[in-house]
């Protein structure tokens, strides 16, 4: 699980050869607390597969969230080849995220 910042986002996500699932969260957000462990689990389950996982604290980083129009948290954006291809807002079922990830890395 990568800790993403406004500074490393270009290198870790936009320049990444693998797709990246980014979890935009903040410590004060209840639903984010539910999704945090889900994304951690996914990161473990997809270890070794061609996909990366990262989380960005929107309280500490504002340039990237605003660039990608994040106005609700948790928001999850799937990046591929430096571009956002899917975006999910709010609590998501783990299976749903799995399905989207599987479709992307096949």
């Amino acid at each position: 699980m990568l800790t993403l910042t406004d500074q490393n986002f270009q290198t870790e996500v936009l320049n990444s050869k693998k797709p990246v699932l980014v979890d935009f969260w903040a410590p004060w957000c209840g639903p984010c607390k539910i999704m945090g462990p889900v994304v951690e689990e996914l990161a473990k389950e997809y270890a070794g597969k061609p996909v990366k996982f990262g989380k960005m604290n929107v309280d500490e980083n504002s340039a990237i969230p605003s660039k990608f129009g994040v106005m609700s948290i948790p928001t999850f954006i799937l990046f591929k080849d430096g571009k956002p291809v899917e975006q999910f807002v709010g609590v998501q079922k783990k299976e749903y995220l799995q399905k989207k990830l599987d479709a992307l890395i096949k």
């Binding site: 004060w28 607390k33 539910i34």
Partner: protein, 357 residues
């Protein structure tokens, strides 16, 4: 077969789990689509006894969960998608006749407590008893553009998203406690908060009303509805369309509020409607019970709330109990939900005991 399955993870579900676990029923609790329930999106809970300094909703729910786990409740992240209460599978030694008390109708299928089926993630669980604690969820306005702009200025969680509206203008729809709480909270960030309410009086409690009324950043817009959200073309909310509420003052031929489909909104707009530029929209217009999966399985009232037998938490089906906001449309408090969750666990425990004969 399980002894007890609890569906829902708000104060009612977790309290039922605490009591049932302490009664050695080893309950399973399915958390569902909104783990922790409505309190996960609230700010400070100032009226839950035992927390004189207040506690945040999410913190309170973490403690509830810990307490349930401490006594051995099995908490599962799955979502219950289907239940079958009516046709319990045959049991080896069926007993006929009455349930826990003489006045109850005969046991469905005449089986020894349960044989109820609950599906979570395609997996079927059989259980002797069930507690429904699925609560209620916030209603949305039901506008097409509201859906399109969800997460782009339209928010379902003021505490999560208020932060994104620093020095911006937001609209809160509603006149109850939630609307007052959210508007007051949003003034921490927003430069201006409009509260749009379809009546000319608030339903909110006095203390919440006063707090909002005193706040210089909050302005009330009375007798008005939001009939459209603008900004879908640019990808974020730029404003809302307001229209006089048909309810108050009454307009001849005015449609019922429930019928405020986009088309009706469109039709209403002529002349009297106006655009209010804003960056965010929060709806706090009440709740609806999360009981769709129980339709046809137990008795629900017209609005979808679970009907329980007078003086107990038992539903129309023996062995199926219910507590919290899926039953209660009147009080709807964390502490009352916890209270009825406790009742449901005690009722379930006694009923299961009675089945042992």
């Amino acid at each position: 077969m399980e002894n007890l399955i609890i569906i829902g993870s708000g104060p009612a579900g977790y309290t039922a789990a605490i009591y049932a676990a302490r009664a050695n029923l080893a309950p399973i609790l399915f958390e569902g689509t909104e783990p922790g329930g409505q309190l996960m999106t609230t700010t400070d809970v100032e009226n839950y006894p035992g927390f004189p300094k207040g506690i945040t909703g999410p913190e309170l729910m973490v403690i509830f969960k810990e307490q349930a786990e401490r006594f051995g409740a099995r908490i599962m992240g799955e979502i219950v998608t289907k239940v079958e209460f009516g046709n319990p599978s045959p049991q080896p030694s069926p007993i006929k006749g009455e349930g826990a008390n003489g006045n109850s109708p005969p046991l469905v299928g005449g089986v020894r407590g349960g044989g109820f089926k609950v599906w979570a993630n395609e997996k079927m669980y059989e259980t002797r008893a069930v507690i429904i604690a699925t609560g209620a969820s916030a209603k949305r306005l039901g506008l097409e553009n509201e859906k399109k702009l969800y997460g782009k200025g339209v928010s379902a969680c003021a505490t999560c998203d208020g932060f994104f509206f620093k020095d911006k203008t937001v609209v809160v729809v509603g006149g109850g406690d939630t609307a007052m709480e959210e508007s007051t909270f949003l003034t921490k960030f927003a430069k201006k908060v409009y509260v749009v309410h379809r009546r000319d009086v608030l339903k909110a409690s006095k203390i919440m009303q006063e707090r909002a009324m005193k706040n210089p950043k909050i302005e009330f817009i009375w007798n008005t509805e939001v009939v459209d959200v603008l900004g879908a073309d640019v990808g974020h909310v730029t404003g809302v369309v307001l229209s006089p509420s048909p309810q108050s003052p009454p307009i001849k031929g005015g449609e019922d509020l429930k019928n405020s489909s986009p088309l009706v909104g469109e039709a209403r707009r002529g002349g009297t409607s106006r655009t209010l530029p804003c960056d965010g929209l929060f709806a706090a217009i009440g709740h609806e019970p999360n009981t769709k999966i129980f339709s046809g399985q137990i008795e629900l009232d017209q609005k979808g709330y679970v009907v329980t037998r007078p003086g107990t938490t038992m539903t129309s089906v023996e062995g199926v109990f219910a507590g919290g906001d899926c039953v209660d449309f009147k009080y709807r408090q964390a502490v009352t939900a916890a209270g009825t969750g406790c009742e449901a666990a005690i009722d379930a425990e006694r009923w299961l005991e009675a089945q042992e004969g």
